[in-house]
Symmetry: C2
Subunit: 277 residues, 2 copies
């Protein structure tokens, strides 16, 4: 029997997000773990999660996760900062003993590695900021850290619209971030605490300047996923034809069109399976 | 027996929207029909509707309408252009013989009255534009009309964020509308075909200039509601203390804060009842 036919080794990693933003995490996973089959669900019928209450986010996240669990995944990745901030312990309880990896801890780890002086700015959705999850995760690693945060709701809309650069984007970035950088000019690291935000990275970097290092959770999450799988002996052997399944709860054409920006690869409409939650 | 105790006369008008945008319609109804009790439901857990498919919008709209119908309303007002465009006939069928009024026909009527030359621009969400509902409604009244349209998804996010004026808003307006006005310089009337957009009216007017009349469906919808009630003998007598009930499916604090901009009146959190659909 080859490793490829062992059910435990060959089952997929399930990844979900409120929409297409989590495809930045999927992209990092594909690069880091080319042998793993990946199955992705974007809850496009109910996005965005970032302005919803913790109660509703937890319920929606559980629904989305259940679709993946029923397809037999070996690990669950919450590729959405808001859902991680507000539902990770809940999903761990509901789906135990399935390992569940969120994006907040990896994002906090990346920030603590990148910051020299511990002045860290978290930019995220309203829900993630309110949860305080990043501040807790950063301070648990670096107790003296000074953590600022800014809720940047419009970044999501800009990214979804495909407006990722240019004067409008820079003006919006400046309006959100200038006051907080003015308040603490020592900030030397910024966490892009929403999976939509990495596509705006160039515009954000231009506005805040070279003194602030931008980190996002996608790469670190992929590393954490690889470490967790390896430590449990669950890594798939590297193969060339690992499967990629894409599901959404609505709007196939929009998912394919906007999702390509985040995945960094073309998505054809026929690739996207629509599921009801 | 006074008119006030007659069940048919005294029951409320039910109004629903995907979120807070429909409060612009509620405001117009309050001004026009001060004697009517109004009950409003914003489906804030699942907004926005404007980027969702017709199938999902119809399902969500039916759920929202059912909550109102179960509370015993005498008329249903769909205070959301996307839900009107994609679900009005469906809701009329499901809840017959309850009268259902949408915002698209009144918006089209207002545009046809305001335009001198019949060159009309519809600005709306992606869903409303794709449905073609406005173009059909305008041409059925004015067969020779030249109808242009522009999907302006970011307007919703700007309005929800409370960014209703200033250089960023004007830049966004210009980016969406300049190309279409350049394409047809004869446009002399613009329909704000989303209940979120009236709060951006000043900025939009400044960008497009005085040659284009802006109309929205709120005032015309209130007139249509009044006419329909009057013709059926269902108008409530004018009283000073008509009830106003506000419900949302999520995020009470946000509903109160952002909703005040649209209602043009303060909303206290305790006024907002949270309901599950």
């Amino acid at each position: 029997m080859t490793a490829g036919t062992d059910a435990r080794d060959s089952s997929s990693i399930g990844v979900f997000d409120s929409g297409v933003g989590g495809l930045t995490v999927l992209r990092a996973l594909r690069e880091r773990l080319p042998g793993e089959s990946l199955i992705y669900l974007g809850d496009t019928a109910r996005l965005p999660y970032g302005t919803k209450s913790p109660r509703v986010v937890a319920r929606y996240a559980e629904n989305a996760a259940r679709v993946l669990v029923e397809r037999g995944v070996k690990m669950l990745v919450i590729a959405c900062n808001t859902a991680t901030a507000e539902a990770l312990p809940h999903l761990e309880r509901v789906f135990a003993p399935l390992p569940v990896v969120g994006v907040v801890e990896p994002g906090a780890e990346a920030a603590c590695e990148a910051s020299r002086n511990g002045h860290i700015l978290v930019v995220a959705t309203e829900g993630t900021v309110k949860s305080g999850a990043y501040a807790r995760a950063i301070r648990s690693r670096r107790p003296g850290a000074v953590v600022r945060s800014a809720a940047c709701s419009l970044f999501v809309a800009l990214a979804e619209e495909g407006w990722v650069d240019g004067p409008i984007v820079e003006s919006v970035v400046r309006r959100y971030l200038a006051p907080v950088v003015r308040e603490d000019p020592s900030v030397d690291c910024m966490v892009l605490g929403c999976t939509h935000f990495p596509v705006l990275r160039d515009a954000i970097a231009r506005v805040v300047g070279p003194g602030i290092t931008l980190v996002d959770s996608a790469m670190t999450t992929a590393r954490v996923v690889a470490d967790r799988l390896r430590s449990r002996g669950m890594l798939a052997p590297p193969v060339n034809a690992a499967a990629l399944e894409l599901m959404a709860t609505d709007a196939r054409a929009r998912f394919a069109r906007v999702g390509a920006v985040f995945l960094g690869a073309t998505i054809s409409e026929s690739q996207v399976e629509i599921v009801d939650l």
